[in-house]
């Protein structure tokens, strides 16, 4: 099953309440996906060359301060960290590739070796706007442990998972991000993901899970890197991705929605002057402000929907 939610704000006044508006949307989708949940929140854009990275460790005792010290010495003395539950928000000046390389080396150079020898730390999101937090557990537990309701921002994408294609793990939870502020949530299942994965690997993609949604995330990322617009990437996805899907795609400045041509997987959208929202079901939208006067519709099958020009939400860290 799975539930997806997205909220894109058009009114600056509401940005301080993004998390408070978004959390009930996610919780309403608990029955569609009780095993894991996650969300991407777009806020506090960094100024180049600074980037922000969200890291995650399955070891609750992992010492983020120790990792930060090694990275400060090797990469950026001004690097800062903010641990949130078992995730850690890192701000630093570097490009994405250099950071990934430095992280791998730093993990080998830690004064006290991590308890987990395999993947002691994973990169959950990387970019200038995006922060992703995701975990195994009920949507309520996940929202609470990361303090979603307190978060401000311009837009958010969320997912509640009922796993069908791969294991119930943090890494298998949505949203999936492959960098550059792009993330993807998915309700459905892809039937040609093994073939696509091989194809994308030959184009340079690196996969971290067996999950079909990661294949879709890599697909969009590679199309965008090759110079396609998001709308062009969505149009080509209609031909290349086989299976059932309602996708919600987050980018630094907006979000997009795409349903497969059969459109078995549900989606409802609503829009007012202040916001645009998507939910797997209407009840996810039922408590949004002024929903009684919103335009409400079901997105057409095989039609890309796109909202851009997100509000610039200032740094509040």
């Amino acid at each position: 099953m799975c539930g997806i939610t997205g909220l894109f704000l058009k009114n600056r006044e509401l940005t301080k309440d993004l998390g408070a508006l978004f959390e009930p949307m996610l919780l309403q989708m608990s029955q569609r996906g009780p095993d894991s949940a996650g969300f991407a929140i777009y806020r506090d854009p960094t100024s180049a060359p600074r980037i922000k990275v969200v890291l995650q460790s399955s070891d609750p005792a992992f010492d983020w301060q120790e990792l930060a010290a090694v990275l400060q010495a090797s990469l950026d003395p001004d690097l800062t960290i903010t641990p949130i539950h078992n995730h850690c928000l890192v701000l630093l000046a570097a490009d994405e590739a250099t950071f990934k390389q430095a992280l791998a080396q730093s993990l080998k150079a830690l004064p006290s070796p991590p308890a987990l020898t395999r993947d002691p730390v994973n990169i959950v999101s990387i970019g200038r706007h995006i922060e992703i937090y995701k975990e195994v557990g009920t949507p309520q537990d996940v929202a609470t442990c990361f303090g979603l309701s307190e978060m401000a921002g311009s837009h958010a994408i969320g997912h509640t998972r009922m796993a069908t294609e791969s294991a119930v793990t943090t890494a298998g939870s949505h949203p999936f991000s492959t960098g550059r502020d792009v993330c993807l949530v998915h309700n459905g299942s892809l039937s040609n993901h093994n073939w696509l994965r091989r194809n994308l690997i030959s184009q340079g993609a690196v996969f971290t899970t067996d999950n079909d949604t990661e294949v879709a995330a890599q697909y969009f990322d590679i199309k965008l890197q090759q110079g396609a617009s998001l709308e062009e990437a969505m149009t080509s996805a209609l031909g290349d991705l086989d299976g059932f899907y309602t996708f919600c795609i987050g980018t630094s400045n907006g979000f997009a929605v795409l349903r497969d041509p059969i459109a078995c997987k549900p989606a409802v959208m609503a829009e007012t002057d202040d916001w645009v929202a998507i939910g797997s079901e209407f009840r996810a939208l039922a408590e949004l402000p002024d929903i009684g006067h919103a335009e409400i519709w079901e997105p057409e099958p095989a039609v890309p929907y796109l909202w851009e020009n997100a509000l610039d939400v200032p740094l509040a860290l």
Partner: protein, 240 residues
């Protein structure tokens, strides 16, 4: 043919606020309602997209739902008149047996799926697979319907005053489709048929009952070419 309006005796009103009353309590009260007691109007407020609102009713009650509903609203309905003052999610009035279900807004996919009897009126648009596997229900859509509407429809009527998406009436059996606008494409074994006097008379009565102000002469009729579900002796080799 169909009793559309309350008969004037339904003067009492029973109010259910789903923000306070659990949905099961409402549905149980509707199930416990005997025909002799069904003289009140049941008004349901704050449905907020809940699933299975007013499902499985078997009594001539009048149910007014103020707001948008989730999946399977008024499913399996018998006798009751259920009016939804909002949009309906997947499978509104699915498998309904008799009575009336009226959606004042839009309906999501599979509206009226497998319906056996009664009348379903959708005043807005209906999404994909409207009237899938229809078994006798009459559906009147004021707006348009999505792809694969009337798929494998066996009996009953689908009237569409707007347009239809791809594969209209795919693998249709003996249901009738009346379409005023255009179909993106007809499904396998679905063909246009002539509009005889009997069809015009039937459609005029149905449109009037559904409170649609349209001229029956502006509709085209579609149905089964009957080439898919009849055995053709020339295909015998395929089964030997």
């Amino acid at each position: 043919m169909f009793r559309l309006h309350s008969d004037g005796n339904k003067t009492m009103e029973r109010l259910f606020d789903l923000a306070e009353t659990p949905l099961r309590e409402l549905n149980q009260a509707l199930h416990d309602c005997l025909p002799d007691d069904a003289t009140s109007v049941w008004r349901i407020v704050n449905p907020k997209g809940e699933h299975a609102v007013a499902c499985g009713i078997d009594t001539p009650a009048e149910v007014q739902i103020q707001g948008h509903v989730g999946y399977y609203c008024a499913g399996m309905n018998k006798q009751a008149h259920v009016i939804i003052h909002g949009n309906a999610g997947t499978g509104v009035a699915e498998n309904m047996m008799s009575g009336l279900v009226r959606v004042k807004g839009n309906a999501s996919q599979s509206a009226g799926a497998t319906g056996h009897g009664g009348l379903l009126v959708i005043e807005g648009n209906a999404a994909a697979r409207c009237g899938i596997s229809l078994k006798g229900l009459h559906i009147v859509v004021h707006g348009s319907v999505g792809h694969m509407s009337g798929f494998m429809a066996q009996k009953g009527v689908l009237v569409v005053c707007g347009d239809a998406g791809h594969a209209l009436g795919d693998s249709i059996y003996e249901a009738k489709i009346f379409l005023k606008g255009k179909a993106d494409e007809l499904g396998a074994d679905c063909v246009e048929k002539n509009m005889a006097e009997e069809h015009l008379t039937f459609l005029a009565a149905l449109l009037e009952t559904a409170e649609v102000n349209e001229d029956p002469a502006t509709f085209r009729r579609y149905g089964s070419a009957r080439s898919l579900y009849n055995f053709d002796i020339d295909d015998a080799d395929a089964f030997s």
